[in-house]
Assembly symmetry: D2
Homo-oligomer: 341 residues x 4
């Protein structure tokens, strides 16, 4: 049995990881850690699990965690993971970090967007960006996996087949993303106030969201030419899910069937990617509480635009689910092990 620890186990993401690990047939939870002094029962935070589960969330004890764990999930705020990753690596644990701290090869980009000096730059070189469908080979050998952000996951999965096959122009890419509220976390704030969200809808951080450089970075890795995007996130009055509507211009001579077969080929072996039949469109309730990414592609012959719509659960494929999928890849399990019954 693989021994797994979760650091930051009381946050939305940490709890989702714990719930997935509980369902996993080849995994045992070695430690659930948090900052509070007083331990609490996991089932107080996860009312849906069996009453027989008597795991606790207890205060960090790094030595104990390191010794007892083969895999350590860091479900910590941005800027905090970079303080802790190394000590678990030193104990030979695989570290799967869900913050942004190891996602950027260029320190300057990270430091600008997260307004924080990076204190463990030497780890960046070997960190692998954990977008499971794209980097499977590298993930399977990585010691430090930088789990992608929620918006980047939905955006990059939608664009990868087109960029890799050079079917579209790399300028003028528009990503109009809409997210549920759970991304705003557990602490009460204006961002999750019922009166601000219910019967409301709005854009936020228009063109200045910190996921923008992460998307650009990864799209550039897929593309020969430099990519330029416009990224606008919006806030939906619902709990879970991100739907991204992506607009691009196809290159001259690229046919509709070429586009569709690029997707089919690219995701042929990806169990969590579901391509929608022509004329149908992804919707959030199909992917909520799953690790799926549904993708629909429409070609507008008149304007030469391709419209790609992707739908994910922000807490699963956009965070905890992809982290466990990466653990499966890294540790030699089937990619969907523990996700279905």
């Amino acid at each position: 049995m693989l021994r797994c620890a979760v650091i930051g186990a009381k946050g939305y993401t940490g709890l989702e990881i714990a719930e997935l690990l509980l369902k996993h047939p080849d995994v045992t939870i070695s430690y659930l850690a948090d900052m509070d002094d007083k331990p609490v029962m996991l089932k107080e935070y996860l009312p849906h699990i069996s009453p027989k589960v008597d795991l606790q969330i207890a205060k960090y004890d790094f030595d104990e965690i390191g010794e007892k764990s083969d895999v350590v999930f860091l479900a910590l705020p941005h800027r905090v993971s970079l303080l802790y990753a190394e000590q678990f690596l030193n104990k030979n644990a695989v570290v799967i970090d869900l913050s942004a701290d190891y996602r950027f090869k260029k320190v300057a980009v990270y430091e600008k967007w997260y307004d924080k000096k990076h204190t463990s730059k030497h780890l960046l070189k070997d960190a692998v960006y954990g977008l499971s469908e794209l980097n499977k080979e590298a993930i399977s050998k990585a010691q430090l996996i930088a789990n992608p952000g929620c918006f980047p996951t939905g955006s990059i999965l939608g664009l990868a087949p087109l960029l890799r096959n050079e079917l579209i122009k790399t300028e003028g890419i528009v990503i109009d993303a809409k997210t549920g509220v759970s991304g705003a976390g557990r602490n009460p704030s204006a961002a999750n106030h019922f009166g601000e969200l219910h019967e409301n809808f709005k854009a936020y951080k228009v063109n200045v969201h910190q996921h923008s450089p992460e998307i650009v970075d990864q799209l550039n890795a897929l593309s020969k030419e430099e990519v330029k995007i416009t990224f606008v996130p919006h806030l939906l009055p619902l709990s879970r899910g991100i739907l991204s509507t992506i607009y691009v211009e196809r290159k001259n001579g690229v046919t509709e069937s070429k586009i569709h077969s690029a997707y089919e080929k690219f995701y042929k072996e990806s169990i969590f990617i579901r391509l929608k039949a022509k004329g149908t469109s992804p919707q959030l309730k199909d992917v909520a509480y799953t690790n799926f990414c549904d993708i629909g592609v429409t070609v507008d012959a008149k304007s030469n635009r391709v419209i790609i719509i992707t739908a994910i659960d922000n807490l699963l494929k956009g965070a905890a689910g992809q982290a466990v999928q990466n653990m499966n890849i890294r540790c030699g399990f089937a990619e969907d092990c523990g996700f279905f019954e």
Copy 2:
């Protein structure tokens, strides 16, 4: 007192018109008409109005309506208005039609998108497209006003200052629109089933929505060059409002300040248009239950894109409110007469 009739008074739009007319100081309601044989009290359908209002919604009597009314609002389904408009025009009433039947100068476009032979084409020449802020002069003299669709209202108001002043390229315009559920009307269907909408979000009619040609038609009227758009509507889990996020490319040499001042100048005298301060963004709850259109404009220097976000109430500025605003313009009242206390 101006005598006004509403045909189709039991639908969401017809009721909104009735409610606005009740509040209007210079108007009296001469007739509320519907197809049912049995008359019902208006207040059964509008529980918020004064118990003292004893108006009825009664069966159509066209002669009586024509004789008793200076203005007739047609709040009827598409393809039905074209059967009835003429008889009221013949009685010298001003007709404000809320369907699509008189919005297109080119009959072929209408007949293609609405799949219906147009049986009163001779009226099209003099029909005026009732986008109040753009066509004020013509509206003030029109006998037949074709009230705009909800999506076109939000889209065109967002683009007009840029197109009229030739500040943007006319290709590659992307309109990503999100609407509340009230647009789907009162009759139960999959489109307004709670289980299909609550905790869900999706695109629909991707690039094939019937409002697309209406938008193109009107944008072309504003622009010297032919306009090409990609239009994708989405369905929000809330009742009222349309938020449209519009992406365009500015022409070379057009500065940010030039863009902002184009909006300020264009809407200087438009009481229902509110331009958001730089860095802030429209939101649906600010415009719900109002006739406002809020507009936010962001320039992305890196990609040369301009992002315009507009927010309206689909039943008011997108239908009933604009119809009454047009009545005000046509009949010589202040544009906002009856809207505020």
Copy 3:
């Protein structure tokens, strides 16, 4: 014109009062006060009002308020009003207080439930409990009006006709109340966190809510025998409204028709009370954004129970609306002046 001031004008209740006063034909707003140093425009907080309204919310200046105002609305937290009411009374203003501070004749009850020493007890004797339909005569002469709580308003209006006419037993009264979220105010907290409310429903303060003694107090004033109630509030995933389902036992020999006619007679002249026809039931969307209280009464012959259901908007009939209704009564206007167009 009557000159009115609102103290606490940035809270949900204070803003509702301001909006009602704006619509009132015989009133002018003399002052909108708040604690912040920096004045803000009212329309920033009330996006639905006319852009022409240029009122400000400014810092308290008690002398100025007192001199410029005939009526002062105190929309302040419990325990704060008792510090301020007297100075406005001394300036001969009518004070309408929306907190609990002047609702109890017995100081001990107040001090127990609100855990605060009452520092202006001498004002209690002349304070009038402002449940408009019950105390119209006294309200019309009061200098200090204690506006009722939201739950008490819905509960007492439902029970008054039965208790006043001695038609029911006074023991075993059950009040099962369900409220929208707006009652939890504007400051972010667990009580208004989207993730805690959306797709959730729960009871809270079971049998220990501070509105319980207020209800008992007022029911006792209506009844010859002492009243015993069980009161359980619940939290709904919606913004506005309180629906109260009340269960009582009729006295022997009291017929169904006697019960219904008691309601009709009692509320014969109450424009804001609407009795539902037999077999129909109140619903929140009929009263939201209105000052109405809808009441439905069902008699269960088998168990001798009477089921009374009342629906109000918690911010209007349950707070700001009733306050303005009381102002109308006190100042000689029609009771519904300013509420309808």
Copy 4:
């Protein structure tokens, strides 16, 4: 492996059963039946299951179903099950019926409330009412299990310990129940129209709901004296769950601790019943998507009332979950087999 069939597999309840059976380690699905001619893939209706599941929902073939199945779940409308149950019993299958057709021992009560002649009365004698926690012994031997209604499940579980131990008066029991929308099924109607539900709340079928006689029937079986209840259901703007607030009067001399220990003892071995700690209250989000019934009990010393609050998921503990729990009991599996990972 136990072979299980679901008749009515496209309804909300049938799909929930199918999803639970898929997760069950000792069960194989032998048939998923529906009325439509054209077979469809189960995963089109259950987007959350593994893409590898290639089960179909196909048209009824009763002979085949009978031969291939050890257990047949009837997820059919009321009045339809009574046409089909017998043929599966004749093939020696265990039949678990989720309609009301076999819940009543007294035919007259059924025929009155469901307005239908009962055509297979001879089966009623041996049918067992499948409230798992109460009738475990009988369920374990039953051939025909009448699965309880959703409201009865929540109500009876809340009252059973008090009635069985004669701790409360049997008159004047009030059950104020609030249900989510999923109970109203998949077909579009006014009962599940977004505009009728969102931002709304109301009671319905006040004191005339068909679950009322079912509750009375079962409570009488638990009690020495005849039980009288008042039952009022309400409709919540959310998808899943029923919260029931139940008000009873304790008998003289019954202490609070006696009441609490009655619950503890009664449910000592019931893994799906969770008793809330004193001072805390059940909430729907804790039981949504689970088979739990959470119960909170409060004693009001002043009025001698006991307030019991129960929370269940209407589609699981109130329907499909309890059906599978009953299958577990009947077929010798652990009661929670297949429910947790």
